[in-house]
């Protein structure tokens, strides 16, 4: 087929990073909401599980990412577990991760285009 497992994994990673971006943005939006519990999307584990399964290619198509409440962090005096600094760091890392996946996907599409003779 035209697109292999790696390409599907890259697509899933891009979608996972986009979902995680939404969760991290919600944490920052609720930085001053008392009692708010931070949420996060662990798309790495979902991806690793899909890649490790018997039928990796089909599993990658059906992999879904969901925001989960993260109760592991320290809770502030107002009951919120958002730390703006750590959220910002995660946000920057996630954006870079997304960019990396997009660039690799882009390069692979370029290779396909070159092979098809339509120019990279």
């Amino acid at each position: 087929m035209l697109f292999d497992t790696t390409q599907n994994a890259l697509e899933a990673a891009i979608s996972g990073a986009a979902t995680r971006q939404q969760a991290l943005a919600a944490n920052l939006a609720n930085a001053n909401t008392p009692g708010y519990q931070r949420v996060d999307v662990d798309f790495h584990s979902s991806l690793a599980a899909a890649l490790g399964s018997e039928d990796a290619k089909d599993s990658l198509h059906s992999v879904r990412f969901a925001a989960q409440v993260d109760a592991s962090g320290a809770t502030r005096a107002d009951g919120s577990s958002v730390d703006v600094d750590s959220e910002s760091a995660k946000l920057a890392a996630n954006a870079l991760e997304h960019q990396a996946a997009v660039q690799v996907a882009h390069a692979r599409i370029g290779i396909l285009k070159a092979a098809m003779g339509t120019g990279a």
Partner: protein
Amino acid sequence: MFDALNVSATGLTAERLRMDVTAENLANAQTTRGADGQPYRRKEVVLSEVQSGGFGAQLAKAVGAGSGSGSQPGGVEVAGITQDQTPGKLVYDPGHPDADAKGYVRMPNVDTVAEMVDLISASRAYEANVTAMNAAKQMFSKTLDLLR
């Protein structure tokens, strides 16, 4: 797809309102005649978390796409603006038109230092939301670059 931008936008709205309310408190720090004739009472914004229930989320739920659990982060909303009911301090100022028989004036319960802290907190939180919005914008434009 643009949910992350909307989430950050709710944060911007909420923090801007906090800044507006803090500015109002500061402006009325010496107001002895509020709307009800009583000394001004400081106002406070109550924020609460929203679960995404927009068109995109409903559509995703209807076609069974998106996250399995259904609850997506939706951002923040203003639940209301409350008045701080703690009494303001009494200041001895017999010449003041609002002084009582003993010469004391009931001042607003606004603590300017606390308001300044709130102002900085709202301003920083606003910046954090702008940063998140920019990151989301860059991510979306990178994804669109795949088409080129």
